[in-house]
Symmetry: C2
Subunit: 153 residues, 2 copies
């Protein structure tokens, strides 16, 4: 569980004049241990479950710091909370979000990336820096909804 990014994080912190604190390292470790899409609450819970103590304020402050430094991406996936995921070099993906239950699937689609570029250019948005989300309904929720419609409340 020792990521190469950890050393990089530490040296970037130092470079930028930030301090290397136990809270920062605990959060870093947790963000990189999970494979994706966590919200602040979930992160806090799993950090505390390990007996470490990081306050909510510090958590939020450092998630923003990590986002600034390029170690995490911060998304609003349609729900009320932000989601955070660590950046693992290179391979970019986009998100498919269920509008009913919030479930998130990741996908990679070179074709859609090309179209994003074209659309951004056409509208004078930066064609290089972009993320995309598709909002739909997952099969489970669709079944539930269909059942509900057949026998309305």
């Amino acid at each position: 569980m020792s990521f190469p990014e950890r050393e990089q994080y530490i040296s970037i912190l130092r470079d930028k004049g930030h301090r290397v604190t136990p809270e920062r390292l605990a959060l870093f470790r947790e963000v990189y241990a999970q494979h994706g899409h966590l919200d602040a609450e979930a992160l806090l819970e799993s950090i505390q479950k390990q007996g470490l103590k990081v306050s909510r304020a510090t958590l939020y402050r450092n998630l923003d710091l990590m986002a600034d430094l390029g170690f995490v991406r911060k998304y609003r996936l349609g729900t009320s909370r932000f989601h955070y995921e660590h950046v693992h070099d290179g391979q970019r993906h986009d998100h498919l979000v269920c509008t009913e239950c919030g479930r998130v699937a990741e996908f990679v689609s070179p074709g859609i990336v090309a179209m994003q570029r074209a659309i951004c250019s056409a509208h004078e948005f930066d064609p290089e820096e972009h993320t995309l989300q598709i909002h739909s309904v997952c099969n489970d929720c669709r079944k539930l909804r269909d059942a509900r419609r057949r026998a309305p409340s």
Copy 2:
């Protein structure tokens, strides 16, 4: 300013056992008068500017009702507020959102719609019912940011 959808809204309200109140009609009118992407605050303000009185609670309750009945779509475009826009039959569009200033552009792309379908199907999401957002940085914000980088604070 009298929309065909207005009569439809009234009769659907009646059908479903909801009452037709002045607040509902005022809100409906306002939502359809604007051409798109309004948040609750902006709607409230323009309703009140016309001398009509609708409370914030009623506004929210009825925006949700209109969404349930299929007259408006409710989006979370990355900012802290929901955005609402009326459904004008047929022509669907997607949104391009500036992650810096929140500016929203609409676009229509048959190609991207086809890809959305394919991606939804592949992940067992409903391929028919979906919306898509692209998040990028608009030219104005990009210029600002570049300027800032050249002369850092």
